[in-house]
Symmetry: C2
DNA sequence: CAGTGGGTTGCACATTTGTGCAACGCTTGC
DNA sequence: GCAAGCGTTGCACAAATGTGCAACCCACTG
């Protein structure tokens, strides 16, 4: 079956119409939900379409409807456990509401976020979801004025315009401090990275603040990019000094894994006996038997679901203030996940 | 600047033309490389475009050229270390040659691969890259007949038609056996999963074959889906028996990590003193200090690069055999990465 | 001064699809 | 038997863009 000529090109509705002996309109209506077609022509069309391998051209369809069905995901470091899980969750949910994800990887150049936004506009995406990087405000406005949703995830830059989904990093970080403090830790190190991402900074600040309120000073170590290597290096630096810390708050689970490994392998320390550790994100490795890391869970499923509700909502552009149509903001809670790297009280 | 009316819709070339006081053709030519426009009108157009926030509609452009610039990546379990790294590498390389990746997540339903292929056709993608799952042959043919590239990665199903990129799984698995055999191991377990992916099966077979040639029998354990949990479970099962293995070949690094953790945490064993382990993929975690896993490196960079050469090549459809225009096949070598989980001879 | 040539420009048509409108045919009711 | 009504069909136009062709203008040359 499916005898096809080697046309080397996509099949158009015109060709299907000719083979089926109907007008092109009939073909179009056959593939349009709720259109008026008789059962007989519908059958003829479907048969011809199957035989030729016809598939509706969504690009052309998008010219008419203001709906390409494309959603752009802009992010860097997508090979990271946290980002890849987010990507997985979001793409799945998008497909469930009949959207398709276009992924733009902005690792490398710092101005590639701008290029990514341009792609978003070029492909008439319904929405742009920014996972990392800070796009220029003027381009964001262009996107919004073009009718796109612009959704910033975990970037609480105080831009108004785009919709934003965040996690209560500061609150969770404060809680992290109290967990360690209650466990008896007094010389607490904060392990962060040189990335300076808004959410990482918020975690540093929250922890620092809670420590200050308790009368403790903390030192922040930033030994490279956010990852295992920087955590390991930070461990080497901090633990080789004369006054070893008795606990560490790592603003990322990856940093925590690296830090723990340095402590155990390089210094023969035991966690949590000699050293307590708290991480952030709850990546898969945090649950592995070698780490059993106490951490805070990123509400990835909730984030992904909220995105779909933002996109599904039938135009909630009720208020259209002339200057700033401030987008909605949602903040989810990062709950602690107790495992084994913090001593019980 | 950038005073924009709240048009709530994308800007068209027509609007730019009116503002600039030129014809729409002039606008089109301004954004077409190599077209004939005078410097003065070009400037007028660019200025008007900037002011209105105009961006060329690639969807409409694709109607004319047979080139959407879209490449579909079809895959499941994209939150896995191996897959996310592959995704990262491929998306980057695609962007470098001015393509954009559309990611279709096929986790869940088994027939969603078919739906994914349909999306590929709907969006007139230039190419379809299949990372997992086995698409129906008839749809593959439709894609090829439509002029798409179809590239199968690490799925050496013996379909002819699509182009395929594989890794010499069997050869590497044989080498894995000899590494363990040379280290003095004789009771070797193979840890695999219930997935039954072609590459996993090839690794099992290669190892089994080499073992048989050396006069050893191996047992294959499949304790669940390919991942840390199944490796851990396999470890529990295998090591609680009376005759403990003295080595394990895990067909995936994730399985190996789980297996090692079970051995150490549940049975207090030491690697490599009591037990040698060899993995596959060389995921990031394999290099972590807690594992230091000896494994085989997937040539991800080479795979990604080869994809771009396949897409960049200006129509190498030299031979167009009437029936089966067999696509090119490339097989890369997976080189061993020596770390610490195999005893030195 | 007229003719030629080259660079620009605009018109019109092409790409593929959805849809309003009018016409068509068939059935049903009087 | 005829008219009304309803479902179906095709024509023509819409969407945003690229491009061949002819016309245009300007400068240069004989």
């Amino acid at each position: 079956m499916s005898e096809m000529k080697p046309g080397r090109s996509f099949v158009s509705a015109q060709q299907v119409a000719e083979l089926a002996g109907v007008s092109r309109s009939a073909v179009s209506r056959t593939f349009t939900d709720g259109a008026s077609v008789s059962e007989t022509t519908r059958k003829k069309v479907l048969e011809a379409a199957e035989q030729l391998g016809y598939h509706v051209n969504h690009l052309a369809r998008s010219l008419i409807h203001e709906d390409s069905g494309i959603v752009c995901l802009i992010g860097a470091d997508i090979n990271t456990p946290y980002h890849s899980r987010l990507l997985d969750a979001i793409t799945r949910r998008l497909q469930a509401i009949n959207r398709v994800a276009m992924v733009i990887n902005t690792s490398g150049d710092s101005d590639s976020v701008e290029a990514a936004l341009r792609q978003t506009l070029n492909y008439r995406a319904n929405a742009t979801i920014v996972l990392s990087g800070t796009p220029p405000a003027s381009l964001i406005n262009t996107c919004i004025n073009s009718g796109q949703h612009v959704i910033l995830i975990n970037r609480d830059d105080h831009l108004d315009g785009p919709e934003s989904i965040t996690v209560d990093n500061g609150v969770a970080a404060r809680e992290a401090f109290h967990m360690l403090h209650r466990a008896g830790c007094r010389r607490i190190a904060v392990v962060s990275s040189q990335a300076g991402t808004p959410s990482l900074v918020a975690r540093e600040r929250g922890f620092e603040e809670a420590a200050r309120e308790a009368g403790l000073a903390v030192t922040i170590t930033r030994a490279g990019p956010t990852g295992y290597g920087a955590g390991f290096e930070a461990g080497r630096l901090l633990l080789s000094g004369s006054e070893r810390p008795d606990a560490a708050f790592c603003v990322t689970d990856l940093l925590a894994c690296g830090f723990m490994d340095a402590a155990r392998v390089e210094f023969g320390m035991n966690v949590p006996t000699d050293l307590c550790v708290v991480g952030f994100d709850d990546i898969e490795q945090a649950g592995w038997a070698s780490y059993q890391l106490t951490t805070f869970r990123q509400p990835i499923a909730q984030i992904a679901e909220h995105i779909t509700t933002l996109l599904d909502s039938d135009n909630p552009d009720v208020v259209n203030g002339p200057g700033a149509a401030s987008g909605s903001r949602v903040c989810f809670h990062a709950a602690p996940v107790w495992r084994r790297t913090v001593r019980p009280k």
